[in-house]
């Protein structure tokens, strides 16, 4: 098993190197002068030369790439040109939001998509099946940004002054702020905590949960509902379809008939014999949804005014903030590769026939 993980990591390295190279080249190819776009049109040639020298942008592209790789190997993602702050710090502040949003959306997609797909497969060609499949088709056809705006319109405006009202933007209501658990418990003062703890504390819902701040937790969840529902529709539809087709295939197997013939309880047949065997293609499809979710996060964060990684990347690209573009993309690509690795490894657990050498 360890050998397999090691092989997979080695195999991922060329792709990772390719990602680094492509990101670096793409970031450098964005037209426009970083000096002018950061310091403004009035920056003189002298000021610009000093700026480019300071940031190492006056060296050759190859030299810059080697320096960049060296920095990365030392865990140094560089400093944002716009904010004059380390990329890791910005990541620690903004990645948790995207993780929280993406994770909630995926959970939601599974919690609703899988049961719907199961009902659809078990009641094949029934009204419930047709309704689910029509719904799934509509779901994959819906623009995320449109659904987000429509949800905001319905829940923030039409349902105003009702218990169903939900906030259309931001992470927390005005006046509320999240206090990191390490400050509450007196471990560290603000800003002194290790990056990992800061990262965890910026997962607002989790932070509020462990510190027992129920009011804040409720508020954070309320703010997360609309964006995560908007983000979950496409994965939900895909998961429902895949669950259905995968289960339909397994239902026709001889061992399912045997299981029923020997008088097993229908619930056991469904969960142990059908669903368990239908899981493999389903997990693959769920793994593929990470990319869909991240792409959707760029749009969702824009609509709901959330300062997450997706929104920041989009802004960095338009502002030519190379270090942010590079740093964020690398982290996302690594996350992607790791998640795909986890999906591959899960096959061995789900299906003992797949022996991993």
């Amino acid at each position: 098993m360890l050998k397999y993980i090691f092989h997979r990591i080695i195999y991922s390295l060329p792709v990772l190197f390719g990602v680094l190279l492509v990101t670096f080249v793409l970031a450098r190819s964005v037209p426009g002068d970083p000096c002018k776009s950061i310091l403004g049109e009035k920056a003189t040639a002298d000021v610009c030369a000093r700026f480019l020298h300071e940031k190492g942008l006056d060296r050759s592209i190859a030299e810059q790439f080697v320096i960049y790789l060296n920095d990365l190997a030392h865990g140094n993602f560089g400093e944002s040109i716009r904010f004059h702050r380390p990329i890791t710090q910005i990541l620690v502040e903004r990645l948790p939001l995207t993780v929280e949003l993406g994770f909630t959306a995926l959970i939601l997609a599974c919690l609703i998509g899988i049961p719907l797909g199961m009902i659809s497969a078990l009641k094949h060609n029934s009204a419930a099946d047709i309704a689910t499949m029509v719904g799934a088709n509509v779901g994959v056809s819906m623009p995320v940004f449109w659904l987000g705006l429509m949800l905001a319109y319905v829940f923030a405006l039409l349902l105003k002054d009702t218990p169903f009202w939900l906030p259309p933007s931001g992470r927390l209501s005005a006046g509320l702020s999240s206090m990191p658990f390490y400050e509450v418990w007196g471990w560290y003062d603000k800003g002194d905590a290790p990056k990992l703890l800061q990262f965890v504390s910026n997962l607002y819902i989790f932070n509020a949960f462990i510190t027992g701040d129920w009011q804040l937790m409720r508020d954070a969840i309320k703010h997360l509902i609309l964006p995560s529902v908007a983000l979950s529709t496409i994965p939900m539809a895909v998961i429902a379809r895949m669950t259905r087709s995968s289960m339909l295939q397994v239902t026709q197997m001889d061992y399912v008939r045997t299981a029923r013939a020997k008088g097993l309880h229908e619930r056991v047949v469904i969960f142990r014999h059908i669903f368990r065997n239908a899981l493999l293609p389903l997990v693959t499809v769920i793994g593929l949804q990470f990319g869909v979710i991240f792409s959707g996060a760029i749009l969702t964060e824009t609509i709901f005014s959330l300062a997450g990684v997706g929104r920041s990347l989009y802004e960095a690209i338009t502002a030519r903030d190379y270090p942010i573009i590079q740093g964020f993309t690398v982290v996302i690509a690594i996350g992607y590769i790791v998640l795909n690795l986890l999906v591959d490894l899960s096959y061995g657990f789900l299906d003992p026939r797949i022996r991993i050498e």
């Binding site: 492509v22 793409l26 509509v138 994959v140 705006l149 905001a152 996302i332």
Partner: protein, 289 residues
Amino acid sequence: MTAVKRLFRQHSGIAGMIILGVLVLTAVFAPIIAPYGPNEVLIGKENIRKRAKPCIHLLGCPADQPQHLAGVDGNVRDEFSRLVYGSRISIFIGFVTIGFAIITGTFLGTIAGYVGGTTSNIIMRTLDVVLAFPFLLLAIAIVAILGPGLVNAMMAIAIVNIPTYARVIRASVLSVREEEYITAALSIGAGHRRILLQHVLPNAFPPLIVLATLGIGTAILETAGLSFLGLGSQPPDPEWGAMLASERNQVFSAPHLVFLPGLAIMLTVLGFNLLGDGLRDALDPRLRL
């Protein structure tokens, strides 16, 4: 039963064809259907304020007011006319983007599958790198380099879609390559080009047709996303994603200007998805989901 006959027996295929039929007719007859030009500003021509709600005479709107089926946008243009003309752009986006992705993907996939070895490895690993990026992120980066605009956005979406087609074609080519009729063709002295064009590609195409139909919908959706971010179609083009984006801050005061372009995108994408489902069932029942 032929594939076409089977397609006509699929409910989803028929529904998809009806939706797309209406869309194509709308695009073709846009100048007849639309009461105004897509970019015709009505200031000074009609006594109407910007972002006016829809006025439909049949639904009780006073007859002395000019009829605007979908209301008026922020620049006092007839929204319905813009939606009608927008169908042309959507069809153009879908076919051109996926056409480009298929041609490039087929070329790369065929070479990778047929030649094999180092060439295949280089091509497939390069495509793996493209797949390692979330598609919208890469598309945004490409548009940032090429500059915002509809054609560049389409190019970006086409590029991020290439790996999918290349992989499918490569897999098909790999399996077809081992068939006996290829050995037979080789033994009678057929050249590589003839084998590729006459034997390998036609047999590798059916899965591609299904994928392409589904891909057109996705491409329209993705390009609309780029337009929504301001990177695709530029004003005053009546592109649905851009129309929606320009009014998104007015969603609370003029929801129809956000709702209708989004609905148009959704129906179009739905049409292609339904047709793709129907085609898949008709062409290759084994793939049936």
